[in-house]
Amino acid sequence: MIAPRRLLAAVIAWTVAAPAARAAAQASTATLSANVGTIAKLNLSTASASFPDADPDALPLIPSAGGPILITAKSRANPGVVVVLTLQAADDLRSGVNVIPASNITWTATGTGFVGGTLSKVTPVTVATWTGSGVRSGSQQLYFRNLWTHPTGTYTVSLLYTLSAP
C-alpha cells in the first residue's frame, strides 16, 4: 500500500496547491417591482337623455329617446373588493316652479352585474356591481313615469354616475 498512499497524498497535495478557478458563470440579481394602483374609468354613450311628450294613457312609461345608454366601466381594484356603479339625481325634475320627483325616473339594464332601479335624489342607487378588476359593459334604458298629474313644462335634472373601485 505504500505506492497508493504516496499517490493519494500527491493527488491531495496537488489539489490543494492548484490555483483557485474563476467561475465559468457569473450571476447577478435584480428586483422587479410593479405598482398597480386602483383606478376607475366610466364611459357613457351619451351625456344627455330626453323623454318626448306622450299621452299618459297610451304610454305610461316613456323610454328615453335614442335608446339605451351604453355603459363601459373599467376598473382596477384590490383583489376581492366590490366595484360599484351608482346613479344619483342632483335634485328633482324641475321646470320653473313645477317639480316632479326624481323617483319618476326608473331604468332597466342589461349586462353582467347590471340591475334595474329607481332614481333618487337622496341616495346613490346601484346600477351595477362587480368583483375585482376588469372591463365591463352593459346598457341602461331610462323610463319616465308619465302621469296625468304632472304639470306641463320642460323639466331637467342632472344625473351623477359614480364608479368606485376601492
Binding site: Q26, S28, K74, S133
Partner: protein
C-alpha cells in the same frame, strides 16, 4: 492486503486521478474570467392608466459585461424567479418584455419563469468591459388586481 486487493485500490486511485488532472488543466490560466453587473438592481414599473399607457417602461438598466481569457462563446441570460406577486395576486411574468442595445450582442425578448432567456451572446473576449442598455416593459392591463408586485430576476453570464 492481497496483491489483488492492492491492484484494485491502486486502479481506483488512478481512475480518480484522471478526471482530477483534466479538471486542473481546464482550471488553469486559460479558463474564462467573467464579470457581470446590473445597475440599478431595482427595476420599477410605475402605475399607469392602461388606456393611456398600454405598456409601461421602467428606467433603462445598464448591464456591464467583461469576458476575458475566453476563446469560445459567451452568453448572458435572464430568468425570472416566478410571476409578479402581490399577496394572492399574480401577473404572469410573460407580460414583461425588454428591448436591449446595442444589437448585437444584445437582443430583445420576453421574460420567462421556466427557461432562461438569452439577453446577449458573443464569442471571444469583451475586454475592456462593455455596457448594454436594457429597458423592461410591462404590458399594462385593466385585468390586473391593484397591488405592489415584486419578483427577482437572475442574470447569468456564462462561457461554456
Amino acid at each position: 492486503m492481497s496483491r489483488f486487493a492492492r491492484s484494485i485500490v491502486f486502479g481506483s486511485l488512478l481512475t480518480a486521478m484522471v478526471p482530477a488532472v483534466a479538471g486542473a488543466q481546464s482550471r488553469g490560466g486559460a479558463s474564462p474570467q467573467l464579470d457581470l453587473s446590473i445597475s440599478p438592481a431595482s427595476i420599477t414599473f410605475a402605475s399607469a392608466d392602461p388606456d393611456v399607457s398600454p405598456t409601461v417602461a421602467a428606467a433603462p438598466v445598464v448591464v456591464t459585461v467583461r469576458v476575458r481569457q475566453n476563446s469560445g462563446s459567451w452568453t448572458l441570460t435572464v430568468l425570472a424567479g416566478g410571476d409578479l406577486l402581490a399577496g394572492p395576486s399574480t401577473v404572469d411574468i410573460t407580460n414583461v418584455s425588454w428591448t436591449a442595445t446595442p444589437a448585437p450582442p444584445y437582443q430583445n425578448g420576453t421574460l420567462s419563469k421556466t427557461v432562461a432567456q438569452r439577453l446577449a451572446s458573443g464569442t471571444g473576449n469583451v475586454n475592456p468591459a462593455a455596457n448594454g442598455s436594457v429597458t423592461f416593459r410591462l404590458a399594462n392591463s385593466w385585468l390586473y388586481s391593484a397591488g405592489s408586485y415584486t419578483q427577482t430576476l437572475v442574470f447569468t453570464l456564462s462561457a461554456p
